[in-house]
Symmetry: C2
Subunit: 204 residues, 2 copies
């Protein structure tokens, strides 16, 4: 094994352990000592791979984002119509947010820390999502499934609608995780909003 | 003048003065002393009408909400089609939020105070807005402008989409007021999202 592979392997083990702990206790309650213990590593060694808990958390989130990215790329390959692809994308996205909530936001107090931690990751991933939506819409247009004269920013508006629906639900929670019931309602709302959007862009 | 009318008149004068001050300096920077000075009233008299600054602020917001309510009721009376009414509603709503922003949220630090102050007012007003959207949608259905088999919760989803678009823009501001540019963009986004929604519910 090359040195690079060995580092990669160690990182993977650490990220897996950290993910488990964050999911159980939330970002703010987990210490680097505990994670070092989980992977039977000295704290100094752990810090070699991840200088701060924030770095480790970012790596966990990045991994989840890559997972989502893989899943949504699979959607594109499917033989489904564009409308179905859009709905599947929304479902995958909701699953991802459920994971995020479990990972980091069980503790109220860490909300603002997490917000700024997430900020760059979120903005980068927004681009990925936006390109994905654009691709589906283009596919729908090519196949005459969607109207030919959609505004340039249709994909952006759709992404913003999805982001907004989630935002308004999280609005009063101040970082506490959503309960089962609220999550299910939000999921249903995203689905209905997507239906309306699809009807709105379909060829008439 | 009856005693009741006299009280009402005093309250109106105080609310007008308070509104002006909040709009200039933001909720958190205004003192009751200053408002008492503006209306040439002793502080004790002012407290007779409004026991706390929060009460006064609520009265100012309530007045703005009543103003919006009157304006959207006028929309219902117009001969326009239901789609146009929905668009006009969205415009009125945006104007209202611009006023709200100017009134209360110029100061970052007061954000959470204001949030809880607003909470009940907002939830109550949500009902007003929801009923208004329902009325327009029903009108559109009666006139065969909108599809006959819309889901029960179409009005609610639409309101949530509007709320969400605003929420995601305010997300990172932490109570600072929106700049001109962001406000214009948000307005445009609401308009486009409303267009999509309308296309989505129109009779096919």
């Amino acid at each position: 094994m090359s040195q690079e592979d060995s580092i990669k392997e160690k990182e993977t083990i650490i990220i897996k352990a950290a993910r488990k702990r964050f999911a159980h206790y939330g970002f703010s309650k987990v210490t680097m000592d505990e994670i070092a213990g989980d992977v039977e590593m000295g704290k100094a060694s752990l810090y070699y791979y991840f200088p701060t808990k924030e770095d480790l958390f970012r790596a966990v989130i990045l991994q989840e984002q890559n997972e989502l990215k893989k899943n949504i790329e699979l959607i594109l390959e499917k033989p489904n119509c564009a409308s179905e692809k859009l709905q599947e994308f929304v479902e995958q996205r909701m699953k991802f947010f459920r994971i995020l909530l479990n990972l980091g936001t069980l503790s109220v107090h860490s909300y603002f820390d997490i917000k700024s931690l997430f900020k760059k990751l979120f903005f980068d991933f927004e681009e990925v999502e936006l390109n994905f939506i654009k691709k589906i819409i283009d596919e729908g247009k090519t196949k005459k499934e969607f109207s030919q004269d959609l505004p340039e920013d249709a994909a952006l508006i759709f992404l913003h609608i999805l982001q907004g629906l989630r935002c308004r639900v999280l609005r009063w929670t101040k970082g506490q995780s959503l309960d089962e019931d609220t999550h299910t309602k939000l999921q249903q709302e995203m689905k209905t909003a997507t239906d309306f959007f699809i009807y709105g862009i379909k060829s008439k």
